[in-house]
Structure formats: structure tokens, C-alpha cells
Symmetry: C3
Subunit: 347 residues, 3 copies
């Protein structure tokens, strides 16, 4: 891909200063850009780089006042950061454009495939599966029997969707994520062994969800494990059977949500958090990384930390004291000694 | 799949009340069931739903006394919960019935394939591999050279079994699990680099084990990493080289067992637990989620919590006090002050 | 594979005692070895096994003085452990020898494939990808468009390398690892939803790196996530976008490194550790398993523990006191009581 400064300026509806014909073929941070790169300046902290960068074109805010002459062509816009984001998206959608059905792939004759889809080589589409328009199924994905996938969704290489699961529009699922594996349910037997409880439910992933690489979402025992619209799940997350993650909730890497727990809307949950089963977490809850939530959180919009988790302020205060514990213990011994002396004197 | 109330009643050897000809085509919880659903009532807490459910058929206990008339057909049995479980299994085994060899798949001519197996498209069976009767290898599985897999075992899509590993009968391995990857062993060199120690052992998984999605079990350096009969491993678990997990032990998601550790029989280990290397954990040990076991546990049947873990009761008591730490510190300052005043008065 | 004691002795440049013609066909620990096995004795603790083992050949140190006659053929060398390691490697490289291109595989016509490579069935090599000489791509691997892979590198079954990533020489990547998935970056919107920030950077993995099974390394937003030469990553690790892991650093299983953090050279980081984003960890830092690093570590070569982590000695001291907390609280109450009595007496 290669564009002139002028072409980019027209696309962003900006104002050009400098050589309109200079060509760019990559995007880069201003402090790392080399010749041929397009960059941007939004944060004033980075302004000094504007005078030293080798970038060929830099997008800047309309109100930027230059302190001295600059080498790159400038494109002035209302908001340099969001204009650059638009270019990033454009760049990526051109770069990742894929369509058509590569061979060999396996598409069961009963599957319904939408228009303009991409199905990579070695992808498997099971019986009665439905794939929406403009959806991309990368190589080596597995779409089990009767799976429904919406439109404009992307499944990256090696993601596995077990039978009967339902996935919405504009969903992104990353490599080797597993959707719909069996919930972890066993009935203890008299001889100490465990008998598997059949898991006949499914997973429903609503629109605009992103699921990270190697993340696992187990199917419900009966009914559905549900990931609501707009949820963003990072890599290596565990969502157990019959859990529900509320709309626009964001969960960082390596966190686990146990069976049947319901996480509210718009929560922000850090990495390596554990959430026990059969609880409710209120809307807008924020959880510090590495915390363990072991009971329901009823009040909305609060912040928690620790394992077991408590109110974040208490948690932080206790953490500080923990580091002083050896001093505290010494202090108590001194008090004891002083008190003993006092008593001896008083005797 | 579609059955009449009468067909199900015969299967369960029950007694029918109501319309014997009503048809059901799905299984559902009584509180969520719609017309055409078969449900069950075992827990008396859910009895009110019996009078409002839209389920077409409900399995109930023989001793249930109706308070008022009900709409669904009832099937009375000795134990509604276990009868329903039987149906769940029946349903799933019909639903997940697969057999035959899909194309394209890769089966080395030297591999021995049992009777009535399912080998999905894009599955790979290496040289001298052995696959038992009635075993299902879903699409995109990898069975390395000389792997032995027993009968009635299921490998879901994308599970990877490295060369020389041995897997028993009735084992279930979920999507993208990796069995037999190299143990993490390196010899530090004088120049600060690490030299890989070749890992020539294997993994042995005995009968009736379940391995969750994206779980990793590393091969032994020499000898075997062993998962004993009846062990149940959840998703995203790490079992390091030369570890051994005892019979009927259950481990929840995201837990890690380090190299050469031996976990006893019938242990119950929570999620996100870490267990250091080269230790022994006694039979029947229970470990609280998020704990860190940093030394051997010799006494059987005890409960542990915390990181580093201690006796569970102590752990819980300390956790309670931790949350009072800021108050405790304040208390000590008050004591100090009171003592100082007393000493001043006594002087 | 089958060798005589004499062949092995010549290979190791050792001295033979006993039957030079005895044949061995496997490697085993001295305490587990059976007839036909080759073993070694390095640690004097294991010397008693030398007189009872069924191994056919044992490699021993030159300076070993026998206490009584032994059954196996002995091969004397300078360092039995390293000679045995050499054999382990030899054994594994013969055993894992693979070459040629299995069918069906997918190789884009624009890809450049080196000499003597192995490309397993169902592997996918995208447009403009480059694969170096003697590299092994196991079945079901995904090599995205424009990926560059060096020489003598091994990608085990199911590893996924997204477009544009760069992988060095002698790298090992284990099953279902995902390299180059999107960084977890979203811009919060006024309506509570999140807008995805396009991730256009890549991942660079330098020479001699090992990446464990199911480990995830996200691509940079712009620029590169970098894994420096000689780094060893265990299974199920998360490396977020724009992170950098320094030369010869070793990280154990289930640890997570957040976005833009830079870990120095020669660090040793335990399992289940969490490291927050945008910090620096100094060269030679050691981190206890399960710790949480929440701020930069500037001083080199120190040891840390706890979550949040502190100096390891302080951490250990505080951990000990935590287990005495209930006693400490009781002690304070006794002090209070004693003080009150004293005051009452003094009144």
C-alpha cells in the first residue's frame, strides 16, 4: 500500500502544509518513524520529536503552533489522534482483506454460507451451521454442527466453536480460543469416582464482542452461557458453564469466572482475578488485578481488591500495614516489656 | 430428535399421568422450559414452577403430592434427578454420534485404527499410532507418532497429542489441549544463556480422565508424567514434566502443578492454585482457590488455604485479622500513648 | 533405534568395561531402567542403584570406584551427566527427524520455502511468508501473510503465527501457542461501549527462544512486541502488546506481562506472576511465584515476592507474621487489659 500526502489529506478532510506528493507506505510512532512513514502528534509531550523525526508525513492538530521549521509534510485536522485511528483502521481493513473459499476446506452440504465470506484452508464447517455475510473464518477454524455465526464476524486461525453455539455480528475471536467446551460438572460416586454430567446447553456470544487468544468459554449444563453485547475478553480467560458477562464489561488476561456467576454491565475486571461460582457482581464494579471475589457484590460502581476481596481503600490500607507487620510485632513486645517494668515498679 | 411422553416413560420405567402422546424435542430447566420441552423437578424449592411451566413433560419423584392440577404430562420415577441425568446422557450420545473417516484427513499407513472410529477432516494420525474402537478424533486433532489411544475416547477439535504419549479408555480431551509438549528444563550456561535439556519421556493418561480446553500436560524429561484413572482437569491448567496426579483427583481451572510433584488420590484443588515442584500432596487434601502450596503436605484429608498455604482455619482467621490491620495499628499507638502517660505519672 | 555399548562408547570417546556388544534401544533413569536400557550415574546418592539396576549399559564418571562387581557394561567418561545429555539430544534429534512436505498442505505460491524443511499436513503458509532452511512446521500450524521464520526453527502442531510477525533461528514454539494476536486496546465511548483500536504492529521473536504450549504473545499496537534472544517462556503465559522481554530471561507457566512493560535481561520470573503495564523490571531481577509487580524495579539483581511485591526478605518476614496475626490481636487485648488494671490501681 502506498499513498501520497495529498491522498491522505483528502481522506481526512485536512489542510496540507509542505510537499503534497511525498509518498508514505507505513504507519509509525513519531519517535520511531523512518522515511516513508506516516505518523501523528497528539500529546504535546511528544512535540520535540516533530522537529527531529524522519517521518515523511505527520498528522497534527489544527491549533498546533510551530516553534521552528519542520521537515515532514504536515496534515492539520481537528483531532490528530482520532484521524490517525481512522487511518489505522483503514490500513488494517485493507491489509486484512480476505475473501473466497480456500481449498481444501470442509463445508457440510447442509451448512448455509452468506455472501462475500472468507473461509480459509482446513477450516471445518459442520452440518446445519450458518455463516453470515462478510464473515471471515481463518484457516483451521472449527465450526461445529448447528453453530450460528452472524455477519462481519472474524474467527482467527484455530478458534474452535463447538456444536449449537450462537455468535453475533461484528464479533472477533482470536486464535485457539475454545467456545462451547463442556462445563466442568461431575457427580461424586460412592466409590470415590466422579460421574460426568452431560452438558447439553450452549454458549451465546452477542454482537461486538472480542474474545482473546486461547480463552475458553464453556457451554451451559442446560440453557446458555451468555456473553452480552460489547464485552471484551483478553487472552487465556476462563468463563465457566452458565456464567453471564454483562454488556460492555471488560476483562483482562488470565481471569477466571466460575460457574453460574453473573457479572453486571460495564464492569472493569483486572488480570488474574478469580470469581467464585453462583454469585452476582453489580453493574460498574471495578476489580483490581489478582483479586479473588468470593461473595456477591450488590452495590453498583464500587472498587474492590485483595483475595478475598474487600473495598479497595481498605485493601490498600491493609496492604501497607502488612509490610510493616514485623515492626508492629516488635512494637508489641516493647509495649509488653514496658508494661511489665511498670507493674514491677508498682508492686 | 423427537419423542412422545410415552416413549420416555417406557425408557425410564416410570408411571405416566396426563397425555401420553405429547411430543418433546428438547430438554430444559423447569423455570426456563417452553412448549415441546422435557424437564424435571427434584429440588422442592422449584415446586412452584411445576404449576406455571410451559414444559410439555416433567419428570417428578414418585412421592410428589400435587397441590393443584398441572398442565404438563408427568412421569413419576424413584429419583427424578438421576432419571433426568440418564436422559441427558442419552440425548447427548445420540446428538454427538459421529462415525466414519472424513476427507481430507491424514492417516499414516502404519497407524492401527480400531473399529467404528470417527476421524474428522484435517485430523492427523502419525506413524505407528494406535486408535482404539469407538474412539472419536474430531477435526484438526493431532496424534503424533507412536501415540496409543484407547477405546471409547473422545478428542475434541484441535487437541494435540505429541509423539509417544499413551491415553486410556473413555478419556475426554477438549479443544486445543496440548498433551506431551516439552518439559520446561534448561541448564544455565556460563555466558548467561540456557541450554535446552532434551525431553524424551512421555505423558500417560489413564482411563476415565477428562482434560479441559487449552490445558497443557508436559512430557517427562525421562519416564512419564502420569494422570491417574478418573482424574478431572478443568480448562487452562498446567501440569509440568514428571508430575503425577492421583486417582479421582479433581482440579479446577487455571491451576498449575510444577515439575515432579505428586498429588495424591481424591484431592480437590480449587482454581488458580499454584503447587511448587518436587513435593508430595497427601491423599484427600483440599486446597482453596488461589492458594500457593510451597511444601509437602503429609497428613491426609486436610484443608489448606492462602499463599503460602496453611491450615485452612488458620488461614481464614488470619484473613479476617488482615482486614482489621489498620485498626490494630491504631490500637497499638493508643496503647503506647496510654503507657507513656502512665509512666510520666509514675515518674 | 538400537546401538551397541561399543558404538556409544566411541561416540562419547569413553572407556568401556564389560560386554562391548550388548545392545540398548532406550534411555532411562538408573532407578527405573530395564534390560536394553542405557542409563547414567552422576549423583553419588544414586550409586546404590548401580549394583541393582537392570540397565544394560551405564555411563559413569572416570573417577568412580566400584565397591563390588556390577552387571551392566560401564562406559567411563569425564562427566557422565553431560555425556548422557549429549545422548539425549542425539536420540531426540534422530527420533524427531522429519522432512519433506506432507499433503495436503497449503503453501501460497508467493511464499519462499528454504531447503530441507518439514511442512506437515494441514499446515498453512500465507502469501509472501519466508521459511528458513531446516525449519520444521508441524501439522495444522498457521503461518500468516508476510511472516518471516528463520532456520532450524520448530513450530509444533497447531501453533499460530499471525501476519507480519518475525521469528528467528533455532526457535521452538509449542502446540497451540498464538503469536501476533491483537493487543487488548479499546477506546471508551460516551455510550459505555468500547471502540477497538486497530493493532497494526507485530511480534519479533529473536534467535534461540522457546515458547510454551498455549502461550499468547500479542502484536504491538504500532511497532513491535519483542522477545529477545535466548528467552524461555513456559506454557500458558500472556505477553501483552508492546511488551519487551530481555535476553536470556526465563518465565514460568501462567505468568502475565501487561502492555508496554519492559523486562530486563537474565531475569527469573516464577509461575502465576502478574506484571502491570508500562513499567520497567531491572536486569537480573528474580520474582517469586504468584507475585504481583505493580511498579518499576530499578535496582538490578534483587529478589521480590508478594502481591503487591516487595523486597523478598520483607515479604517472607511479613508472611510469617501474618500466620501469627490472631495471636497478635489477642496479645494486644491482653496488653490493653493489663494497662487498664494498672491505671485503675494507680487512680
Amino acid at each position: 500500500m502506498q499513498f501520497t500526502a495529498n491522498e491522505i489529506c483528502l481522506l481526512l478532510n485536512g489542510t496540507l502544509e509542505g510537499n503534497a506528493d511525498v509518498k508514505v507506505f507505513q504507519l509509525a510512532k513519531i519517535e520511531e518513524a523512518t522515511e516513508g512513514a506516516l505518523s501523528f502528534l497528539a500529546n504535546p509531550k511528544y512535540e520535540p520529536f516533530l522537529y527531529t523525526t524522519d517521518a515523511s508525513v505527520v498528522i497534527v492538530n489544527n491549533d498546533l503552533v510551530l516553534e521552528k521549521p519542520v521537515k515532514p509534510t504536515l496534515i492539520r485536522v481537528d483531532n490528530a489522534y482520532s484521524s490517525f485511528s481512522v487511518l489505522l483502521e483503514k490500513y488494517n481493513s485493507l491489509k486484512l482483506h480476505k475473501s473466497g473459499i480456500e481449498q481444501p476446506s470442509f463445508i457440510d452440504p447442509s451448512a448455509k454460507i452468506g455472501k462475500n465470506v472468507y473461509i480459509g484452508a482446513f477450516a471445518y464447517i459442520g452440518a446445519n451451521a450458518v455463516i453470515g455475510d462478510n464473515t471471515k473464518i481463518y484457516p483451521q477454524c472449527y465450526i461445529g454442527d448447528a453453530v450460528q455465526i452472524g455477519a462481519e464476524t472474524t474467527l482467527y486461525s484455530g478458534s474452535k466453536i463447538y456444536h449449537d453455539c450462537v455468535i453475533g455480528d461484528r464479533v472477533i475471536i482470536h486464535g485457539s480460543a475454545v467456545i462451547g467446551s463442556d462445563g466442568f460438572g461431575f457427580a461424586p460416586q460412592a466409590d470415590g469416582s466422579y460421574h460426568k454430567i452431560s452438558q447439553i446447553g450452549n454458549v451465546i456470544i452477542e454482537d461486538d464482542v472480542e474474545v482473546g487468544a486461547n480463552t475458553c468459554i464453556d457451554r451451559a449444563t442446560m440453557g446458555s452461557t451468555i456473553i452480552r453485547k460489547g464485552v471484551k475478553l483478553d487472552n487465556l480467560i476462563q468463563i465457566a458453564h452458565n456464567a453471564e458477562i454483562g454488556k460492555n464489561t471488560v476483562i483482562a488476561s488470565q481471569t477466571g469466572v466460575s460457574g453460574s456467576s453473573k457479572i453486571g454491565e460495564s464492569c472493569i475486571i483486572g488480570g488474574q482475578v478469580g470469581i467464585v461460582g453462583h454469585i452476582v457482581v453489580a453493574k460498574g464494579t471495578q476489580v483490581q488485578a489478582k483479586s479473588g471475589i468470593n461473595k456477591s457484590i450488590e452495590e453498583e460502581g464500587k472498587k474492590f481488591g485483595g483475595a478475598p476481596a474487600t473495598n479497595y481503600q481498605n485493601y490498600m490500607r491493609s496492604q501497607v500495614v502488612i509490610q510493616r507487620l514485623p515492626d508492629i510485632e516488635r512494637k508489641i513486645q516493647e509495649l509488653q516489656k514496658a508494661l511489665d517494668e511498670l507493674r514491677a515498679n508498682n508492686a
